[in-house]
């Protein structure tokens, strides 16, 4: 039974994992902050239960699908067909009442459906019309993803909704605008909608696609075989449909005299957030986390505190979740966690490392050494690549990151995983290398 009294804003909870004990003179406090949001019970997501909305008010979401229609999509022709089928599958996954639009992208952005600077409201009829419109999609032209994003932003802004989400599909490099143009477009769109990015085939640039997803707080992935697009698009759209609250920020308060060394998301993927801070009142700052459905993410917070004597205790940081409002105070989401520092002369207490902190420190290093190893490999530095990827194999093996271990095994021959002894494979499929690079930031959680 639906619970009508519950709001559709999910309940957030914050758990802090840390070893708060510092030795005499210790200054660095590390903590893993697990943020979990649980949806409004049986109400579920904003779009899953549209009948619970007051009449006249639709589900609170809008999505824009941006499909690459550049000339290269015709080589091979299965790519365009795959993209069309995938977009159709994604449209089928759009729930009734959600606003949506389809954009065809070349060196300029074209509205494919519904057109006229509008968004369509999903129902059986509009979904069918949209799929009909996809047939008109043909390949020809260049690639300027920044223009697609700006058009998506304009269209999504036309609806009065909470959740705004985009999906970008590209098969090639962003060749018809400068990197600065794309950067400017991403800056303009950041915080206005979230966006997943997918590369199809192997002719696209991993850093461009992951850069889009990172800036717009979405996911990035490779779909090497166009036939796999439909399943991926359906899944992406379903995830988007599960989002319940947008523009959530992780707010960090720290006392006078402390410095934040870094803040990063460490699960489900590694995402550096340190430089994305927005000041929010005295000694507090907000870090963007995008939109949330029923999910759980982990953040690694590292704070430097002033020294204090044995037996002293202080609050190193207070972590909470808020929805910043452009005008007026942010809306708090209720949950908060405390990161503490306690100085002790008990060496056993102060020298132990919290297993969560240790685990995610390893996962962050894993993502980093994969990146460095692949860069070294591209640069022809065989020794450097072998060392870095060997370390990656070791870390993946120790932490039980089986997915990443499998991907690594396609790029290197593993001689001794625990010791990190590997040989670079002489011949590596381009798709395998791109998959490893795209997915290098995926982490696994601590085994409980």
């Amino acid at each position: 039974m639906a619970n009508f009294s519950k709001s559709n804003v999910p309940q957030f909870s914050v758990d802090v994992y840390q070893n708060e004990y510092l030795p005499e003179g210790g200054r660095e406090v590390n903590a893993i902050v697990t943020v979990t949001s649980t949806g409004g019970g049986t109400v579920g997501s904003a779009v899953a239960a549209p009948h619970l909305y007051t009449p006249g008010q639709g589900p609170d979401a809008a999505v824009a699908i941006m499909v690459d229609c550049s000339g290269s999509m015709d080589y091979p022709p299965t790519k365009m067909r795959g993209a069309r089928d995938a977009t159709a599958a994604a449209i089928d996954a759009v729930r009734d009442g959600v606003h949506f639009a389809v954009i065809g992208g070349t060196h300029v952005a074209k509205e494919v459906y519904p057109g006229g600077g509008q968004l369509a409201v999903a129902d059986a009829g509009t979904r069918e019309q949209a799929k009909q419109a996809l047939r008109k999609l043909s390949a020809g032209g260049g690639t300027a993803i920044g223009t697609w994003l700006r058009l998506a932003d304009r269209l999504l802004a036309s609806a009065d909704v909470t959740i705004r989400h985009g999906i970008v599909l590209t098969d090639g490099r962003n060749e018809h605008e400068s990197a600065e143009d794309l950067k400017a477009a991403l800056d303009a769109c950041a915080g206005r909608f979230t966006c997943d990015a997918r590369g199809v085939g192997t002719d696209w640039e991993v850093k461009e696609v992951t850069g889009i997803a990172s800036a717009l707080l979405g996911t990035a992935d490779i779909v090497a075989d166009p036939a796999g697009l439909s399943a991926d698009f359906t899944q992406m759209m379903e995830t988007a449909m599960g989002k319940e609250v947008a523009d959530v920020a992780l707010r960090l308060w720290t006392p006078v005299g402390t410095a934040i060394k870094f803040v990063k998301q460490v699960a489900p993927t590694v995402e550096e957030l340190t430089d994305r801070r927005t000041e929010a009142g005295p000694r507090a700052g907000d870090y963007p986390t995008g939109s949330w459905g029923d999910e759980s993410r982990d953040y690694h917070v590292c704070v430097e505190v002033p020294e204090a004597g044995i037996g002293q205790e202080m609050l190193a940081a207070r972590v909470s979740l808020v929805i910043p409002q452009p005008d007026g105070p942010a809306q708090p989401l209720g949950a908060q966690g405390l990161v503490r520092a306690v100085w002790t002369d008990d060496m056993a207490a102060s020298t132990s490392i919290n297993p969560q902190v240790a685990h995610y420190t390893g996962q962050a290093e894993l993502a980093q050494v994969i990146q460095q190893g692949l860069d070294a490999r591209k640069a022809g530095d065989v020794d450097g690549a072998t060392a870095k990827l060997g370390r990656a194999v070791q870390l993946a093996s120790v932490s039980g990151n089986a997915d990443t271990a499998k991907l690594l095994a396609k790029v290197v021959d593993v001689v001794d995983a625990p010791a990190g002894t590997v040989r670079l494979k002489a011949k590596v499929e381009e798709a395998d290398e791109m998959t490893l690079e795209t997915r290098s930031t995926k982490t696994v959680r601590v085994k409980k």
Binding site: N19, P255, V256, Q312, E313, M314, L338
Partner: protein
């Protein structure tokens, strides 16, 4: 200091009184330089048959010439070795799970993740003078206000919790409790009160409890035990129950109160936790009688007003050291120098062995004071003579001041543990002042 042992008042072996400067006992010839100096810190620690963890920090561990590991065969292949990283971590603190032998409590440094710091307990609020209402200002930076979690909103420093330092003064008894310098919270608790016996004479009560750190929620255990024992005495004494019987019943009541806490434990942590536990020592002073009762290693001492007559310890610890001495296996000095000395063999708590409340009744023939304290004090003044030396001469007249001085002595000595002291002058005023 091994050449000149700390001035002993009597021979550890035969109890013969000694002069300062003696190197051997005049009666039995015991080599006094062989008496090991007591360790700085005397945490109440493990006694489960296995050797306890050495207390050295890794850096202070003696350097050792490790033998070369033998090869397993003759082919010059090194023996297989285990690298620490090969072993998966176990519990959340990365330790092996401790194997607690039932029957003994460990009061060593607790595993850091076993408990979280407690918020100030509002129930203790009536023990302290409430600070002026209105905004609280941080004690560390004096600039920020204190948030509802007890931290400064400016510099983040934790504010003293209500139980960090508690003092209470009644007409005929006073008590002081302090967190000490090394522990981050105060797990001791006390309760003092006075009441009237049926004949109108007054009876003064002091109860002191020390939470067992390795148990969960030791601070709650000590608080519950001290309150329950105090209430039980306040009810029984005016009815004419013999004070010694009343003390016995009070310990039973305290034990029930601590046992009840175990049932209320949050279930999610259950496997890791052991039941809340604490020690208890109590004293009842009437115009003619002095009753003490205890379980565990908290103590009561008798310090006469006339210091020419001897001071005395009134309680016998439920501890490893006391058992060793009682069994004649070690002399007192050796036993207390051992790191197992403070492992207690009796306590209040749901997982205690059969509860054995000890009570004793005395009829002192001269005035004096009873010092009721936790090991946070007697670690720094173990022998009755030592304790008498640090007790102010006017203790009977100014009990609160004396309790403060004694707590100060423990803090000056290093304050390694929570310290709680109650001072009761004997005899109690014969004309009861009624309950305070």
């Amino acid at each position: 200091m091994s050449q000149m042992p700390p001035a002993l008042s009597k021979c550890p072996s035969c109890e013969e009184p000694l002069d300062s400067g003696d190197r051997f006992c005049g009666a039995c010839g015991y080599d006094l330089s062989a008496v090991p100096a007591p360790p700085d810190d005397n945490p109440t620690i493990t006694m489960n048959g296995t050797a306890p963890h050495p207390p050295y920090p890794p850096s202070a561990a003696p350097s050792v010439d490790w033998p070369i590991a033998p090869e397993t065969d003759s082919s010059h292949r090194p023996a297989p070795v285990h690298v620490p990283s090969e072993i998966q971590g176990t519990d959340s603190a990365g330790h092996e799970l401790p194997a607690h032998a039932s029957g003994v409590r460990f009061d060593g440094p607790p595993h850091p993740d076993e408990y979280t710091l407690q918020a100030p307990d509002p129930r203790t609020a009536d023990f302290v003078t409430t600070p002026s209402s209105g905004t609280k200002v941080c004690v560390a930076c004096r600039a920020g206000q204190v948030d509802q979690d007890g931290y400064c909103e400016n510099c983040g420093h934790a504010q003293p919790r209500e139980r960090d330092h508690m003092e209470q003064e009644l007409d005929a008894v006073s008590a002081v409790s302090d967190r000490g310098l090394r522990h981050h919270r105060n797990e001791d608790a006390f309760a003092i009160s006075s009441t009237a016996l049926p004949d109108g004479s007054s009876a003064v009560v002091a109860i002191v409890c020390d939470g067992v750190s390795s148990a969960t929620r030791p601070d709650e255990a000590s608080l519950a035990a001290s309150r329950a024992a105090n209430e039980s005495l306040l009810e029984a004494l005016p009815r004419g129950t013999h004070p010694q019987q009343a003390m016995h019943d009070a310990i039973i009541a305290a034990s029930r109160a601590v046992n009840a806490l175990a049932g209320a434990a949050p279930a999610e942590h259950a496997p890791h936790q052991n039941a809340p536990a604490c020690t208890l020592v109590g004293a009842v002073v009437t115009p003619t009688l002095l009753i003490v009762g205890w379980v565990g290693d908290s103590r009561a001492y008798w310090v006469p007003v006339d210091r020419t007559s001897p001071a005395a310890r009134l309680t016998e610890d439920d501890s490893w050291a006391a058992q060793m001495v009682a069994a004649g296996l070690m002399n007192e000095a050796e036993a207390y120098a051992d790191e197992r000395a403070h492992a207690i063999t009796g306590w209040l708590g749901a997982d205690a062995y059969e509860l054995e409340p000890h009570t004793a009744s005395f009829k002192p023939d001269r005035p004096g004071v009873v010092v009721v304290c936790t090991d946070g004090l007697w670690n720094y003044a173990e022998a009755a003579e030592e304790l008498a030396q640090v007790t102010p001469l006017d203790a009977a007249l100014r009990p609160l001041h004396s309790a403060q001085v004694l707590v100060g002595h423990a803090l000056d000595g290093g304050g390694h543990d929570n310290v709680t002291v109650a001072v009761l002058p004997f005899p109690a005023p014969s004309m009861g002042a009624g309950s305070a």
